[in-house]
Amino acid sequence: MQPLSHAFKERSVQALQDETLQVALNRAKDGFAVKRARAVDGLPEFDALRDRAVAIRNHTLEHLDHYLERYADAVERSGGRVHWASSAEDARRIVVDICRAAGARMITKGKSMVGEEVGVNDALEEAGFEVVETDLGEYIIQLAHEPPSHIIVPAVHKTRGQIADLFHENHQKYGLHRKLSEVPEMVNEARQVLRAKYLAADVGITGANFLIAETGTNVIVTNEGNGDLTCSLPRVHIVTAGIEKVVPTAEDATTLLRLLARSATGQDLTTYTTFSTGPKRSGDTDGPDEYHVVLVDSGRSSMLADDFREMLRCIRCGACMNHCPVYGAIGGHAYGWVYPGPMGSVLTPLSVGLKEAGNLPNACTLNGHCAEVCPVRIPLPDLLRTLRHREYQLRLGLKPLRWGLAAWVWFTSHPRIYRLGTRVQARMLALLAGRKGRFTRMPLAGSWFKGGRDLPAPQGETFMAVWKRRQRERKQ
């Protein structure tokens, strides 16, 4: 996917003005946060579980090479094949090659963020395959030719009316001629169409929530059961996964699963949790003939080596964006790449560069809500600040801001001049504001007012001046 993060400012303003989008965002707004809070309240050991999860993730990252090797060995032992993709390009090529070798025509896909990241769909379509997303949300945005706007709920930006229109436009060929209005009807409509695709598919591609090193098992969670059908019905199953998805044992995976569902949707556990290990063995009633895993690095190992290692603990639950007021106001597309919200604002600049995505770490009030809810305690605001530091060092930020900061630092380390300057400023502003007590506009400060707000005027005297006078009076 071509990043559009450089246009964040314009896109965020458009999003704020997009009334349909705002309807969808408002409807989604508190739902997840409320459900998460309820689930967390219902589990007294939630915080202890988080500590364990952090320990598991840190330990694995510490020994990532070891666990990846163990995982790859276990996959091979179970009859599967592991492919290493160091870049997005590699990953695309590997997936296309496997599909070609399998003589495939139709490919079904379970939801996979790494698939979005490396652009699997486009590559496959370009190579002439028919690709169908089987997660309902992904299916909807595939019909709309849009990227996901949320990592858990890809079509959260769509209203029911828009979805009905999409079915109406795209399902005529399947015999749908009336406009649907109820959600169950739409779910059913998608199911009918997808059922035929599952049966016709030659290859099924899924992501991975976790990869278990000891057994070579891939774990995926869904609420629709589409993951099961995608990995077991076609002849070939391809798992695409970031290298950070590996965990040592099945027990570790369970610990993380307990956190994942609660943090993501407020469920104790998702409706389906699917474990798949290798191809069909003799005697198995179902399963694929071929089982491939594409392990994607694409910048992850360099994150491991620098200040952003903690970001690799991420289990892609989406809680940070569900609690982010900026995401809540503008939705996911404004961020301009695959991962939106707080986690995306860290990942995107690391993947596509600060020059492209420098706005993302800045478009945050550092309010800390994301870090508070992150199940693996990633200090997202600190990481965003570190990116700002990097941007500052690379001199990529706005020049006037740089000069302003330099002037301010000089000012703050010269207290006499500072005292004088602030005294004048407080007095002037109070006088200029006059009887109103606040400004409705001001030259050079236009940005403040662009936010649809006035600026309160100072009381008139600085505290330091008042205090000095009082001290003099006290002494007399």
Partner: protein, 268 residues
């Protein structure tokens, strides 16, 4: 040029250096006066170092760590001598507590920064958690709502302390707003870098405030309060904005933030 113009400390009373913050200094001296009054009620000897300026957040949060470190050194020098450093802002107190991070590779300064961080407190949590204050002598016969500023809430765990003290204010009724823990959209330079997003956030905040029917909104951070007052003022609604310390100290008889001078803070 530190402290020293103040009264001699009485033995047994802790010496508190008040870091008034640049916003309170320039915009709202009344907050500084309220802080002094409350600290004196809590049996502290309060001093105001004349060399203090800004905590360094603008630099820190915009990636200029060297600039932030420069401001931090200056602040440490000005406040090192006190038993406590007290700040009427969760955000700035949080910054002072973050100083050690600025000196990862300078062990001398890091130690000084750690000492400073260890004795720095936000005003309301200092009064309650450190000085054991349980009630204030003040009256304020109005309906108020309270906005939890993010840094105080999340970095310093300030939530129930201001409410506990407000409960002791004569005549005051606290009516909680929905989403009181959601950011108001100020975020330092964020509010001018992304004014449209910030504007949406503060409009949502103003709506939550207005929905309570309260006549006054209180909070512990002037940055947020300026933002909120700016929005409420633009809407022309009848909600007045004060720093919580002004009410607790019984000196919220001046116009609220953004109210016309001389309006005495009466309902509009």
């Amino acid at each position: 040029m530190t402290a020293a113009t103040e009264m001699p400390a009485t033995p047994g009373r802790p010496r508190v250096g008040l870091f008034v913050t640049c916003l309170a200094d320039i915009y709202r001296p009344n907050v500084g006066l309220a802080a002094v009054a409350l600290l004196e009620q809590a049996d502290c000897s309060v001093e105001v170092p004349q060399a203090q300026t800004c905590c360094g957040q603008p630099s820190y949060n915009n990636g200029d760590l060297a600039g932030a470190a420069k401001t931090a050194r200056h602040t440490i020098e000005a406040f090192e001598e006190f038993d406590y450093v007290v700040v009427p802002s969760g955000s700035c107190a949080g910054m002072l507590r973050d100083y050690p991070r600025l000196f990862a590779s300078e062990s001398g300064w890091r130690q000084r920064a750690e000492a400073m961080a260890g004795k720095t407190h936000e005003l309301i949590s200092f009064l309650t958690d450190v000085r054991g204050m349980a009630a204030v002598q003040a009256s304020f016969g109005r309906v108020v709502t309270y906005h939890d500023s993010c840094h105080g809430l999340r970095a310093l765990r300030i939530k129930e302390q201001p409410r506990r003290l407000l409960a002791s204010v004569d005549g005051l009724e606290l009516r909680e707003m929905g989403d009181s823990e959601v950011c108001c959209g100020f975020g330092g330079t964020f509010c001018v870098k992304y004014p449209e997003i910030s504007g949406r956030m503060v409009a949502d905040k103003a709506a939550a405030i207005t929905a309570t029917g309260a006549d006054v909104v209180l909070g512990g951070d002037l940055g947020c309060l300026l933002n909120i007052a700016g929005r409420l003022g633009r809407e022309g609604g009848g909600v007045h904005v004060y720093h919580v310390a002004e009410v607790l100290a019984g000196i919220a008889d001046v116009p609220g933030l953004g109210d016309p001078p001389g309006s005495g803070g009466e309902p509009r």
